[in-house]
């Protein structure tokens, strides 16, 4: 059994999530061989800790079905990728092409027939123990479930030209539009101050904006807030919104539904401001202040101004 890992890359370097998938694959393979497959990017393959790094030579931008066709031509029996947008998408196509079964967002796995996996449901609020049956097994690895592979290797780099079908290139990226605002993004901000229904109104976010600004952070919100039309979906933290990983997360008036918590599991520290000391978020928060968000947040900004003189 050789385990094949689809490695995504940018600017000549393998992606962090792909290196996590590679570590997962090395562990799954035990003493068996692990190979990598990349679409372009021989530079990114040069020191991967694998036996062979297959590099598909494909022109043009991202084309999920074409990328999957290239990978499927290597006839893997076990195929692993990152649980990234593209990792999940390419492996779903590859599952059809190889006739395999795909388990998305795995956190652990043991080889065998069937293979045993533990995978995420509900954005990680629930785990599923499952079996993958059949001759071809595909897994994506949940982001940050395992540490990335750090050892360097000296793989045989094997370029190949995949044989594509016409239909493989119908869905492909034809244009890229830059949408960056120049400001700090929710996903990368070191501090995020979020409001939930408990903030009361769109205007109720003004004190949160002020606090976030003073801490060099940005404002987020819960799904209840975006569904009420109070703020844009781009501000939503959660399973179906943005996943954040700030140094400090300050959810204000947010009860802690699983939908929301799936988006802020990456936060290093969590300070909840909530009127309900029994709210589910208290079991996840490191620190809490109990009371009315509309009174507490302005008091915090006033104190910050006072101490900074």
């Amino acid at each position: 059994m050789t385990v094949l890992v689809f490695v995504e890359h940018a600017a000549g370097e393998p992606d962090e999530l792909s290196l996590q998938a590679l570590a997962f694959a090395l562990d799954f393979a035990g003493g068996n061989g692990v190979d990598a497959v990349l679409i372009g990017g021989a530079d990114a393959a040069s020191d991967l800790p694998v036996g062979t790094a297959h590099v598909a030579e494909l022109d043009g931008g991202y084309a999920p079905q074409a990328w999957a066709r290239a990978i499927a031509q290597l006839e893997p029996s076990v195929l692993v990728a990152a649980g990234s947008e593209r990792g999940n998408e390419v492996l779903a196509h590859a599952a059809v092409m190889t006739g395999g079964a795909l388990a998305a967002n795995c956190v652990a796995a043991a080889p065998g027939d069937p293979a045993e996996v533990t995978r995420m449901r509900w954005g990680g609020s629930l785990l599923e123990e499952a079996r993958i049956h059949g001759p071809v097994k595909l897994m994506t690895v949940a982001p940050h479930a395992v540490a990335p592979a750090t050892a360097a290797g000296d793989p045989a780099v094997a370029p190949f030209t995949p044989e594509l079908r016409d239909e493989d290139l119908v869905a492909r990226v034809v244009e890229r539009v830059d949408t960056s605002t120049g400001g700090l993004s929710l996903a990368e901000a070191p501090v995020v101050v979020s409001g939930g229904r408990g903030v009361g109104s769109p205007e109720g976010f003004a004190p949160l904006e002020e606090l976030a600004g003073m801490l060099g952070g940005v404002v987020g919100c819960s799904r209840a807030v975006t569904m009420a039309g109070w703020r844009s979906h781009t501000d939503q933290v959660g399973q179906t919104g943005t996943k954040i990983s700030p140094e400090l997360y300050i959810p204000c008036g947010i009860s802690g539904a699983t939908q929301h918590m799936a988006g802020c599991k990456g936060a290093k520290k969590l300070l909840a401001i909530n009127s309900d000391p029994e709210a589910p978020i208290m079991a996840t928060a490191d620190y809490a202040v109990i009371g009315d968000v509309a009174e507490i947040v302005p008091a915090i900004t006033a104190e910050l101004r006072r101490v900074s003189g």
Binding site: A92, R172, T179, T240, G241, P277, P280, A283, T284
Partner: protein, 249 residues
Amino acid sequence: MDVLVCVKRVPLTGGKMVLTADERGIETRHLGFTVSPHEECGVEEAVRLVEAHGGSVTVVTLGPPEAEEQLRDALAIGADRAILLETDGSDWDPESTAAALADVIAADAPDLVIFGNESADAGGYQVGIRVAHALGRPCVTGLKALAVEDGQLRGEQESGSARDVYRVPLPAVVTVKEGINLPRYPSVPAKLRARRKPVERREPERRDARLELVRLVVPEGRGRQAEVLGEGPSAAPAVVELFQRLGVA
């Protein structure tokens, strides 16, 4: 144009998951149900497309008899007809689900099929793509914007601080993400009209699951509560001290 949307019935889970005795499902006796979030936006998008271009919206689900509620919700938003692929409520693997849906969709031959990018509960990330292959149609996933012009679909997918643009000919399959639109709340008359719209029921055939659910596990919590810094505005100095300790102020 005729648009077909696939939706999934999922529980409104709130703050805590409790499992059933057989550990193969969530205890839902005290929970409400909803359409999985991405798919809720899928229904809205389908209705908007048909409002703009004419045609019809069909909504399909595979689930227990009670999933009729979610079909009625979609009919109240503006779908014209619904198909329920009725199961006993147990978990269906992605391949079986896709095969059952593909059978129905192939017979219906819509111009566009819309899925959610992934379901809120199982999160398999593959049913839409499997159906696209079964139908021999192109598939674009994770769309945050969608438009139809001259028989072509233009879709935008978020990619970091950029958007990747796709253009594919119809018929096609797409998966959408929440945020592509803000779904409307159905009016009372619309809900009443929805009660009279047709819901066809069919019994799909289930295959042996190659991704077989064994049991569910609730991840261990930390087993401790938050450290309370204070109550009300008087907690402000303790909060600022914490900011300084964490190096954020």
